[in-house]
């Protein structure tokens, strides 16, 4: 396998790798640099490194341009939704993996078919439904919708994992007198922690970045999540590139920070749904 190298003349390969790395990572470095430069500075020389680091732009963005509110909204929505979908999904996955009951196949099919439901089939009716229940334009409504849309993927991943836990552990626990809920709490959850981590990562990234449902179901500026906030700002201040860049950095930083420490977990988490 290692003689593979001899067949490729190495230099073009290495050159390509370096170029592609610049193409992938470059834009983020660029945004980071723009986020601490003022817009006039940027227009004078778009690709220069910052001469003076204008950290105050972050403060401005946070307060004046409302990014603080957007960030806070996103945090509330995403943390709550991820927590909820993890608990609810884990319970459902545990049930489907461990118990045999009539209609199990139907329920499983039902939930997993959610994996292929296109958002278009949902948004219009969800719009109507949330309006009817006065959950429209509310963070609560969005949270519930997020839980619903991420449920299928979460159950899919967790069920696959939970099903692999040897039945012996459960039999032993049952003989030791544990109740069903205690078994779930003390056995499935601790052993399945790795898979749960995976789904938490996946759901976090997807929901932090989610745009379509948010843009349909939220209209108040005070309720906007971060992606929406940035778009709204962009709509009103298209030429204020510097400020937009700062806003983008506020959205990017949490993800990059997590990625810096947990890159392997995040990579595995994001690709979990696709590995067969």
């Amino acid at each position: 396998m290692t003689l593979w190298i001899a067949h490729l003349r190495r230099t073009p390969l290495l050159l390509f790798i370096v170029l592609y790395t610049i193409a992938t990572g470059g834009p983020f470095v660029w945004v980071a640099s723009m986020s601490v430069r003022t817009t006039p500075e940027i227009f004078a020389n778009p690709y220069a490194l910052p001469v003076h680091l204008h950290w105050n732009k972050f403060m401005d963005a946070w307060t004046t341009s409302n990014y603080g509110t957007y960030f806070w909204n996103s945090t509330i929505v995403v943390v709550t939704a991820v927590a909820a979908v993890t608990v609810i999904g884990a319970m459902a996955a545990h049930c489907l993996a461990r118990y045999r009951f009539r209609g199990r196949r139907t329920v499983r099919f039902l939930i997993l078919s959610g994996l292929v439901v296109p958002p278009q089939l949902l948004i219009l009716s969800l719009f109507q439904i949330l309006l009817d229940y006065r959950l429209y334009n509310s963070l609560t409504g969005l949270i519930i919708v997020y839980v619903a849309t991420q449920l299928a993927m979460t159950v899919y991943i967790l069920e696959g994992f939970f099903a692999q836990i040897p039945q012996d552990l459960f039999d032993a626990a049952r003989m030791d007198g544990y109740s069903d809920f205690e078994i779930f709490w003390r056995i499935t959850l601790p052993i399945g922690l790795a898979a749960i981590f995976t789904t938490v990562t996946l759901n976090f990234i997807i929901l932090w970045n989610e745009f379509l449902y948010a843009v349909v179901l939220l209209t108040d500026d005070t309720k906007r999540t971060l992606p929406l906030g940035i778009m709204h700002f962009m709509g009103g201040h298209q030429l204020d590139v510097g400020m937009i860049a700062t806003g983008l950095m506020i959205a990017i930083l949490p993800v990059i920070l997590l990625y810096a420490f947990f890159s392997e977990t995040m990579i595995k988490g994001m690709t979990a749904g696709a590995v067969r």
Binding site: V117, Q120, I123, I129, V147, A148, L226, A251, A274
Partner: protein
């Protein structure tokens, strides 16, 4: 004081029986575990889907009056809606070309890292970064990259002496769709690369050694050994990528809003516009579009899976 009439009197026995049933249900672990998931799922996935189907055969008149129109929405869609067909064409091109480029590109990137280059782990981490970013971030950055005056693309072309090729990438109807496609690729290649890389590492090394002894250069190895053995993974990626691209909304909305001149209008953006941006507020028609499109996606997925995957499972 009047005695309660028979119709409003609730027999005590019935209350006791229901309470007993409820208590028993709470003791049934299956129900307890499944209830929250099923409730949310039924209420916010199943019901909306059914309601969309319901909507599609109605027209929503002012004051929330639903008028049943049968298949008229669908007829109008197929016969009298050029925008719909443009959006279908755009989405189709985007999906087919984009999917092939997506998976082939992911495989090639994975092969680059598989070839025992130094610092492979580091490159891998960087290449995956766009996958983690919101479409808003990606879209805005690339709008800037495609800018006619100061965007990187035009600047590099100018620097390479290819100034004649400079375009207003997102403003020119003939290039806009392709520009969005490149951005979409940029975001997702890392994802396919990771999966292909994992699959490559799972290949038995001795088979690749045997191929070398059988006079295979790296292209022959790729064509005759690697791709056939990677087939299940590749088919998976093709289907996933295809579904994602058929439903594309975010990136298009952010970068072009469907313009210029409908050149990047996709089915999803059109559905959104018909529902919320049209001067006649009617959810019936866009629901019909959503229904039709979902059925088409489903058909294609079934077709693709049938045609492309292999029947026997090869063990190795």
């Amino acid at each position: 004081m009047m005695a309660p009439s028979k119709s409003t009197e609730i027999p005590a026995g019935w209350i006791r029986a229901s309470l007993a049933r409820a208590r028993q249900a709470c003791q049934n672990p299956v129900l307890v575990f499944l209830a929250p998931a099923l409730l949310i799922y039924t209420g916010f996935i199943v019901y909306p889907v059914l309601r969309t189907f319901y909507n599609s055969v109605h027209v929503l008149r002012p004051h929330n009056i639903l008028e049943f129109v049968g298949f008229r929405n669908f007829a109008e869609l197929f016969r009298k809606d050029p925008v719909f067909w443009t959006s279908v064409r755009n989405t189709a091109i985007f999906s087919v070309v984009g999917t092939i480029a997506d998976v082939a590109g992911g495989l090639l990137l994975a092969l680059c890292l598989f070839a025992k280059v130094p610092l492979a782990r580091a490159w891998r981490v960087v290449w995956f970064t766009p996958v983690l970013m919101s479409y808003v971030v990606v879209g805005i950055i690339w709008v800037w990259i495609y800018d006619y005056d100061w965007g990187v693309v035009n600047l590099v072309l100018h620097w390479l002496g290819l100034g004649a090729l400079e375009h207003s990438w997102l403003g020119d109807p003939s290039t806009a769709l392709w520009a969005v496609m490149v951005t979409h690729l940029w975001k997702w290649l890392g994802f396919n690369m990771i999966i292909c890389l994992a699959a490559l590492y799972a290949l038995p090394g001795e088979v690749l050694g045997a191929a070398e002894l059988d006079n295979c250069g790296w292209i022959a190895k790729l064509v005759y050994v690697i791709v056939p053995m990677l087939r299940p993974t590749l088919v998976n990626l093709l289907v996933l990528s295809f579904i994602g691209k058929m439903m594309i909304f975010d990136l298009v909305w952010i970068m072009t809003g469907g313009g210029p001149l409908w050149s990047t209008e996709t089915v999803s953006t059109y559905v959104y516009k018909r529902a919320f941006d049209w001067n006649t507020f009617d959810l019936g028609y866009p629901s019909a579009i959503a229904v039709v499109w979902s059925i088409i996606i489903l058909l294609f997925v079934v077709l693709m899976t049938r045609l492309l995957s292999q029947r026997e499972k090869l063990e190795f």
